[in-house]
């Protein structure tokens, strides 16, 4: 997907250290946020972090657990976005840690979760 997508120029070029709930070692926070910010929803040209699809990241001694949602359960690019997130996380997560991506539907996504840059781009 990365070969297809370019980000909306008005969206924030780099999110804050972790614009989602994060629990884990400080040194992984930035790389994990950056990795997830490289995953782009091609329809709106914004990263999944900017759209607010990342509900939280937890890192413990054994694994990195990422909770993601989608704007629609009928979206056929769900698997593609999950694959892309997996590939980007794989680049920054230490090899001894497992990666767990969990797709969740509760609480439902709402526009309130969008980043300030994404909201600005969409006319909020």
């Amino acid at each position: 997907m990365s070969s297809l997508c370019q980000r909306a120029p008005e969206a924030d070029p780099a999110p804050a250290a972790a614009p989602f709930p994060y629990l884990g070692p400080q040194q992984l926070q930035g790389p994990l946020a950056a990795a997830l910010s490289r995953v782009v929803d091609p329809e709106v040209s914004m990263s999944i972090v900017d759209v607010g699809l990342v509900y939280g990241v937890t890192v413990d001694a054994a694994r990195v657990h990422v909770r993601l949602t989608m704007t629609s359960a009928a979206c056929p690019v769900i698997e593609l976005i999950m694959d892309e997130a997996e590939a980007e996380l794989d680049k920054v997560v230490p090899p001894e840690l497992q990666i767990r991506l969990e797709l969740v539907w509760e609480p439902p996504w709402s526009p309130d979760r969008m980043s300030p840059g994404a909201k600005r781009f969409m006319g909020w």
Binding site: A74, L89, D90, P111
Partner: protein, 387 residues
């Protein structure tokens, strides 16, 4: 990649790096069913307008294909593509029964087994409705409910077709299925934009009008067609005003391309609405109504979403480039020849229809070329992993 473990090995999610034989066979089967539906549907459409390429007399089932052009394009091609898309979204094997049934139904129609094809089409629509019920169960929202209602419209249209009703009764329902599916997906995207509070309420009202028009078309074609056409035109206005495409058209790459496809499609939707209403009042605009809607709006959407959907569904990665705009321009130009210039000349209408087919074939070649370009850019290893 960090270390030697693949992402799938580290996550426990199903590996996609080495597709199994069953997956490859399924992909080939669905590809063949979609391809047969599209080619036979286009051939039937061309033969109707007297374009004999290839010569219909050389084809045993030409008569059947002529009669079921609409069924092949809407249920066979688009129904199967949408069914695959939804099945991929819910990620359940049983959900692929719907596109398998609709594709097989199209094959039956092509081979002249009209009754079997028609009733298999009903089964496909019912299966698709069940898949949409699962979507609603997972996420109860306005757009998922509209998707389910759209699936219901497909069931009604297919039942009427199986019961032997004519195009005046069937097409409004089948097109309602396509239009509502697209509108629901766009409604979902509009949530990202700041909207007037009335936006969420007006779309169901417009789509209710569309369904009312479809229902009346069977018993009162004049009033029903008028209402249906007005609803299509109102929907075009709604989409132009509220869709994120007005924002994303200012981005770059595939996002801008999708927005251009969407906005062009909305223009044809508005034209289709006016032509549908005019046809109901006795004007000779039926071809404009059907094909501004089916080709300009719906195929325009397909062209727009293919660069994203094909990697998601068929696991075919594409290299996007400005060359994608060429078949899109060809589609719009061919529609102008057929629907505008063709209003004054029957040969020009037939020539425009031929150019419609050329534009679709051009798009297919463009997609194939984009897949090859991606493989060249990323090498065979990357392509293997992408599957």
């Amino acid at each position: 990649m960090v270390g030697t473990a693949t992402p799938a090995a580290r996550t426990g999610r199903p590996a996609r790096t080495s597709p199994k034989g069953g997956w490859i066979a399924a992909r080939a089967l669905f590809g063949a069913l979609v391809g047969v539906s599209l080619v036979a549907g286009i051939a039937g459409g061309l033969w109707r307008l007297g374009v004999a390429v290839p010569d219909p007399l050389a084809f045993a089932w030409a008569g059947q294909v002529l009669l079921v052009h609409g069924a092949l394009m809407i249920c066979g091609f688009l129904g199967t593509v949408i069914g695959i898309e939804r099945a991929a979204a819910v990620n359940q094997r049983w959900a692929f029964v719907a596109p398998l049934a609709s594709g097989t139904a199209a094959l039956c129609l092509v081979l002249g087994h009209r009754a079997a094809g028609a009733w298999l089409g009903v089964a496909a629509a019912l299966s698709f409705l069940a898949v949409n019920a699962l979507v609603v169960w997972r996420q109860r929202a306005a757009h998922t409910l509209l998707l389910a209602v759209g699936a219901g419209a497909w069931v009604v249209g297919s039942l009427l077709f199986a019961l032997g009703q004519g195009g005046d009764a069937v097409f409004p329902w089948w097109f309602a299925f396509l239009v509502m599916t697209i509108a629901a997906e766009r409604l979902e995207m509009t949530r990202l934009m700041r909207r007037w509070p009335a936006a969420s309420a007006t779309l169901p009202a417009v789509l209710s009008l569309l369904l009312a028009g479809a229902a009346w078309s069977g018993t009162a074609p004049r009033a029903g067609g008028l209402v249906y056409g007005v609803a299509l035109a109102l929907l075009a206005v709604w989409l132009v005003v509220f869709d994120v495409a007005r924002r994303t058209v200012s981005t770059h790459g595939v996002s801008r391309y999708m927005a251009v496809c969407l906005l062009g499609g909305y223009a044809w939707l508005g034209i289709a609405g006016a032509a549908w209403a005019a046809a109901a009042l006795g004007w000779p605009t039926r071809d404009i109504a059907l094909h501004a809607l089916g080709l300009g709006f719906v195929i325009g959407m397909v062209m727009g979403h293919a660069p994203v959907m094909l990697p998601a569904i068929a696991r075919i990665k594409l290299r996007f480039g400005a060359f994608f705009y060429l078949p899109l321009a060809a589609l719009h130009l061919s529609l102008f020849v057929r629907l505008v210039l063709g209003s004054f000349s029957e040969p020009l209408r037939a020539a425009g229809a031929s150019l419609n087919a050329v534009a679709i074939a051009f798009f297919a070649v463009t997609v194939a070329g984009a897949a090859v370009a991606w493989r060249i850019q990323h090498g065979a290893e990357g392509a293997r992993k992408a599957r």
